[in-house]
Amino acid sequence: MFDCANVEMRELLPELAAGTLDAATRALVEQHVATCAECASELETLRLVKSAFASAPTVDVGRIVAALPKPASAPRSARGSAPVRRWMDWRVAAALTMITVGGLSVAVTQRLRHGNPNPPDSRVAQPLGDTTVVARAPSTPDTPVPRKDSMGKGVPRSPTTVPAAPAKPQLAFARGAGDIDEASIQELLALLDEIDRSPVAPRAEPDPTPVLPGIKQSDR
């Protein structure tokens, strides 16, 4: 009892017995089997095995199909989900409308009660998160900035309070909304230059690789 040396053909014998080879491959294997006694003997054994185990109890296909679960994505009846979904859509739309109208009315009421929140002397108001940077023009004697009391009314400016210092950009912070404009950016840059020229400013750049605790300087 020897095995055929043509492993490729021998490996295809079970598929030949099972009948799962395509026509071209089947013809090739059958051609080999016709000239190879070992493969012919093995194929005979395989066909015996197949016929011995071919018979199996028949099953009732209809009963099995009836027992199958329904597909999860199967389309439901037209009366099923559509009206519910439409009703839900209307409810969501109504809720959104109420929230929007309510929010707008509260905002309008607040504005009418407190007047314009932005002071008239603020030239630009730019938000920076919740806090807004307001760049103010330096006060000069010939362009007095009217002050306001807590009620928002103008207060006469005292001539003794006018500073005689040279014009310098100043920063003030206020609450509001908006973006920093070009003029404010220029003023900010001028301020940063002034800080750089200050004698208390450090001359050297900081070390980009700080020493971590537990690591020796020589290890880095």
């Binding site: 009892m1 079970p14 017995a17 491959t25 015996l48 095995v49 028949t58 099953v59 199967a74």
Partner: protein, 184 residues
Amino acid sequence: MVQPHEPSDESTDLELIARWKAGDERAATSLVARHAPALSRFAVSLGQRTDVDEVVQDTFVRAFGSIDSFRADSSLRTWLFTIERRLILDRRRADRRRRDDTSIVEADAATEFDALDNIVAEEAEGRVKKAVDRLSRLQREVFLLRVNEGLSYKEIAEVVGSTEGAARVHYHNAMRAVKESLYV
């Protein structure tokens, strides 16, 4: 190289699955009719002598219930074999616990094969069945999946939870044992 098994519909398994998901029950009928005979044979080859139709039905119910987990990396039939094998092993464990009997299933199968052999003892099929029955459970599974269903070693490895190389070794050892049993 390998043709579809027992085609009963021109559509592929994946097309039938898609149709069933869309609500077409005839697609389910085609799938069951296409694969039920092989599942029935495989159940018998695993030693299942009774309630084969019930096992096949449970296999389909479980498969269709989790059809979304079928990734089509393997054929649907291979996936069904895997499910059926697991079901049969679970049933055996449950039976053993119920009977509080530690006798192995191979012994039960041998008894039933002996009964069958009383009728066809002198016939070739009887000798083949006896030879196959002497194989270990894993060898028998691999051997019959290869010979009866024409599964590749890769597919067999997937069904029995082994490797392709191990499946190949099991098949050749089984083939040698069957030949020795028949011709020596």
